[in-house]
Amino acid sequence: MRRSDLGEFEEVVLLAVAVLSPRAYSVVIAEELERETGQTVSTGAVHAALQRLEQKGYLRSELGEATPERGGRRKRLFTVTALGGRVLSEVRSVRNRLWDRIIPQTILKWS
């Protein structure tokens, strides 16, 4: 897997979509990431990442319902495609393999 294919932020966003599916859209993702990381995450950044992921074919989207706090505007709901799911699990297995090869003492030293 080429590095350029999935940036770190993109990976997190993709994971968040998987977590929040089927009600994943930029606002809830941004809120979720803020909660998880403790850093401010703007919807613009999330939205931009979502668009890139959709272009790459890892996500697909459709327009959802409107709510009053949105001023009657519809939201764009995202779901992970099969390709996106495969990419996610591949990234995860690379990580897992590497994690598994770390000698337990090393991990102990860190903590």
Binding site: E31, T43, H47, A48, T67, P68, R70, R73, K75
Partner: protein, 908 residues
């Protein structure tokens, strides 16, 4: 402010975003930041939310949100363009309509397939016939030379003419003289092999070397310049070389020898590839011209005599560039004066090679085509196609009422006139394609079925030209068939049709439909009348009393040889070349031998049968010392047995006396009248001038008999005994009670006798009745073609009628029901449904009769003896057409009339 309702976010970022964000993203982006703001207000309070708001807005300041979507046309915005959607809809509706109205589709497809199939077949024939001799280099500059002698045109020239033309005239690029020749060919065997013999090889030409400058061949070995420069050299086509020498390499055929007529030894000096194109100059072997003076051929082909015109002697020329044929014809006038004195009976004319396929007197032994017949065929094909198209037009307009509502709905939903037109064109296209498919499938078996009517070289292959033709036929048929329905139905007013008012527009179409039916039946009737006339003329011709008996008579003889065809120019008084005396003796021996066979009733020797294509005439006939205008005489040769053999009737005087030295003649009644005798008895004993040097007393007068095919009038006939001319044996068989097997044995015995006397000559025989019928081969062909055209036109017209009858009885079901309820009888209703068609056919008969009379009178003019065009023929044709039409319609009519009115009325 509503406490549940969060305070609205600041206005200015909205305005900014509305400007900057691409339109297709605005909704979700603005929705997102407003929702986020609302959440922040809930969580952190309005102040904090407002503070972070500008960061949210700034996060959207990225090119991917700002960049506009490229401007896409509306129709691209959908995955499928709408116009193919409409086309698919047209096809779907067309297929549904055709599947629903099976009768209607069947009639149209069969009719159109017949029409297109006929067109296809005739296109193939036409293309074949017009392809002849078009492939030569500079074909437009190649000409044949005709001699015009006493006003008659011959495709031959006097022997010395090619050389003289080359010497004395200008404007030619090439002049090539050639002689057509027929002979047996013998291939001597090698040391131990047997020699091969080919009895009669036509397609031999004796040519000057220049011949190959005009007709370019691909030389497999040898070359055009030198191969034919020496005597006793021959060039073969590859096909002929294989036939003679087996599968030898062309280079190894060079130097082999072969014999013509067992005595002319020639050496092969060249082999050329066969032509791929069609040509009438389909010679397969060329002997060098220099061979003529060096061999016995010089007796047969007189290259020095200006006074003889031999049918075999021809010349073909290629004009120099930019020379007009008229310039050459002008030179021929001076040319003729130089060689034939100041007032020549001879002149010459050029005739172009292109188109010579349509002049039966040209070229080698090839088959020729008749241009009028081709044009007639093309016209017939066109008419047949038009009839089929009319069926489509009639049936679709008849259906118009059922479809008016559909068209109204289409128009209301936005279909415009061209869209509706597209719909109908699609329907006619689907039908036409089905018909073309059917025609293509059927063409090969049908062409095999009519193989004897179609020239052998015509085959159906799918090549580019045929494909183009089919495409063109499809396009023309589709447009013709679709045009009228598309125009009429496309112009319907939706308001009227949806209200159900269609009757108002219906009356006009009825007139057109009637007109088209009249047209169809006019064409059909013309063909019916033509068939009847041709049939009755041929019956008249073949069953007429010919004035002599033809039963059980066999004529023996081999193929004709060149000496049969010659004519003398000017005052040449040399006698025609006679067969050698020993041949006459042999014939006498053979005659006696055959006479003794069991089953033979009588045998005579003659020059020709009473009715034959051969002709020998003299234009200066008359009584001795008479000052009357000379008359044309036609000679028949035979002895005292000739008249009784053919059971001709003597009306005055007596038969010829037996004996070889009898110098007297019999004449026909016509001849006696032409000589000025009203009472034929007075002619007996008078002296007849039968040639410039011959005068004979008249011994008797025979009743007239026909000596030519009925195309030509018989001449005044003279029957004379001249043993040297009587080279054909005629055998009368005691045919009564003879089975086919016995006949075969007898013929076998005759052949054995023939082989014993003429071992070198092939044996051939023909029944007199067959050879007389063969004089009318062209007419019999015309008859079959006309009959075919008649069957097809009548079939298509009746199919159309059937379709209309089905529709009109369906439409009038309620009317018929009401009539029956009010007391109409079944027969009354059938008459009501049929009377219109009878009226239409009567009108068609009125139009067709003068047309057919005009054409058929022209055709009959080609016969010297013909039947009269009687009125009953037209009556018969009319009643046949009416009968067929009624047969077609009445079935539907009776069915409609028998329906219980309750059924048709209750459906309301």
């Amino acid at each position: 402010m509503n406490p549940n309702q969060p305070p609205p976010p600041p206005k200015w970022p909205d305005r900014l975003l509305n400007r900057l964000i691409a339109p297709h993203l605005r909704e979700e982006v603005l929705g997102d930041i407003h929702e986020r703001y609302a959440l922040r207000v809930q969580r952190l309070g309005e102040r904090a939310a407002r503070r972070t708001y500008w960061r949210e807005v700034l996060a959207y300041m990225r090119p991917q949100f700002i960049k506009r979507k490229p401007n896409v046309p509306a129709y691209r915005a959908y995955p499928k363009p709408t116009n193919t959607d409409m086309l698919r809809n047209y096809v779907k509706i067309a297929v549904r309509k055709l599947a629903r109205n099976k009768v209607y589709s069947f009639i149209n497809v069969v009719g159109l397939a017949l029409g297109i199939g006929t067109c296809l077949g005739i296109y193939l024939i036409t293309r074949y016939e017009f392809s002849f001799d078009t492939f030569h280099a500079d074909a437009d500059r190649i000409y044949c030379v005709d001699a015009v002698v006493f006003g008659g045109r011959w495709n031959c020239v006097p022997g010395p003419m090619p050389a003289a033309m080359r010497r004395e005239m200008t404007g030619f690029e090439t002049v090539a003289g050639f002689q057509t020749y027929g002979a047996s060919v013998t291939i001597p065997g090698d040391q131990n092999g047997k020699s091969k013999r080919f009895n009669y090889e036509g397609s031999i030409a004796i040519v000057e070397p220049q011949y190959f400058d005009i007709f370019r061949y691909q030389w497999l070995s040898g070359n055009a310049a030198t191969s034919l420069s020496q005597p006793n050299a021959v060039v073969l086509t590859a096909e002929r070389a294989r036939k003679y020498f087996g599968d030898l390499d062309p280079h190894r055929v060079i130097g082999r020898t072969l014999y013509y007529q067992d005595s002319l030894m020639v050496t092969v000096t060249g082999v050329v590839a066969d032509w791929q194109g069609n040509s009438d100059f389909n010679f397969s072997q060329w002997i060098s011209y220099a061979t003529i003076p060096a061999s016995f051929l010089k007796r047969e082909f007189t290259l020095e005599s200006w006074d003889k015109l031999n049918r075999s002697s021809q010349v073909i020329i290629k004009l120099a560039k930019e020379v007009k044929p008229a310039q050459i014809d002008a030179q021929f006038i001076a040319f003729a004066k130089r060689h034939y004195g100041p007032k020549p009976d001879f002149s010459a004319q050029l005739k172009p090679l292109l188109g010579s396929h349509f002049h039966p007197e040209y070229g080698g032994s090839g088959r020729k085509a008749s241009l009028p017949v081709l044009y007639t065929l093309m016209a017939a094909a066109g008419f047949i196609l038009i009839l089929a198209v009319i069926n489509f037009v009639n049936l679709s307009t008849a259906q118009a009422m059922q479809r008016a509502r559909e068209i109204g709905v289409r128009k209301v939903l936005g279909g415009n006139q061209s869209g509706i037109a597209g719909q109908f064109f699609t329907e006619s296209l689907v039908l036409t394609l089905a018909a073309v498919g059917l025609a293509v499938l059927m063409i090969r078996p049908v062409m095999n079925g009519f193989a004897d009517l179609i020239p052998g070289g015509v085959h159906f292959r799918v090549d580019r030209a045929t494909g183009l033709f089919l495409l063109l036929a499809t396009a023309v048929t589709t447009l013709l068939a679709g045009f009228y329905p598309a125009k009429v139905l496309g112009s319907y007013q939706p308001i009227l049709t949806l209200k159900g008012i269609t009757a108002a527009t219906g009356s006009g179409k009825g007139t057109l439909r009637r007109g088209l039916i009249i047209f169809q039946f006019t064409i059909s009737l013309v063909f019916i009348i033509a068939s009847l006339v041709i049939g009755s003329q041929l019956r008249y011709v073949l069953q007429a009393d010919l004035g002599f008996k033809t039963d059980a008579i066999i004529t023996l003889g081999g193929p004709p040889d060149n000496s049969m065809h010659h004519a003398a120019i000017g005052s040449d008084k040399t006698k025609p070349r006679l067969p050698p005396i020993d041949e006459t003796g042999k014939l006498a021996v053979l005659t006696e031998k055959i006479r003794q066979l069991a089953g033979v009733e009588q045998v005579i020797r003659q020059w020709k049968s009473p009715m034959d294509q051969k002709h020998s005439g003299f234009g200066g006939g008359g009584l001795k010392n008479s000052t009357e205008k000379p008359i044309d005489l036609s000679f028949h040769f035979g002895n005292q047995d000739y008249v009784p053999f053919y059971e001709m009737k003597l009306v005055a005087g007596r038969n010829l006396l037996p004996g070889d030295s009898a110098r007297e003649v019999l004449i026909s009644e016509t001849c006696a009248h032409a000589l000025g005798f009203t009472d034929v008895n007075q002619a007996i004993g008078r002296e007849l001038v039968a040639s410039p040097v011959e005068v004979y007393p008249i011994a008797g007068v025979v009743a007239d008999f026909y000596e030519n095919s009925f195309h030509q009038a018989s001449w005044p006939i003279v029957i004379r005994h001249n043993p040297t001319r009587e080279t054909v044996i005629a055998v009368k068989i005691a045919a009564k009670g003879m089975a086919a097997g016995e006949l075969q044995t007898l013929l076998g015995k005759i052949e054995d006798e023939w082989k014993r006397v003429f071992p070198e000559k092939p044996f051939a025989y023909s029944f007199l009745e067959d050879s007389i019928a063969s004089l009318y081969a062209d007419d019999l062909r015309t008859e079959r073609l006309t009959n075919m055209a008649m069957v097809i036109t009548v079939l298509i017209s009746c199919l159309g009628l059937l379709g209309l009858a089905v529709f009109s009885t369906e439409r009038r079901a309620r009317e018929i029901g009401i009539r029956k309820v009010l007391g109409a009888t079944v027969s009354g209703i059938v008459v009501m449904l049929c009377q219109e068609i009878v009226g239409l056919i009567l009108i068609a008969l009125l139009i067709a009769s003068p047309l057919a009379w005009y054409f058929m009178d022209g055709w009959l003019q080609g016969f010297a003896y013909r039947t009269t065009l009687s009125g009953w023929l037209f009556v018969a044709a009319g009643s046949a057409a009416i009968g067929l039409a009624l047969l077609t319609v009445s079935f539907q009519a009776v069915k409609a009339a028998l329906v219980n009115p309750v059924k048709s009325l209750r459906s309301e």
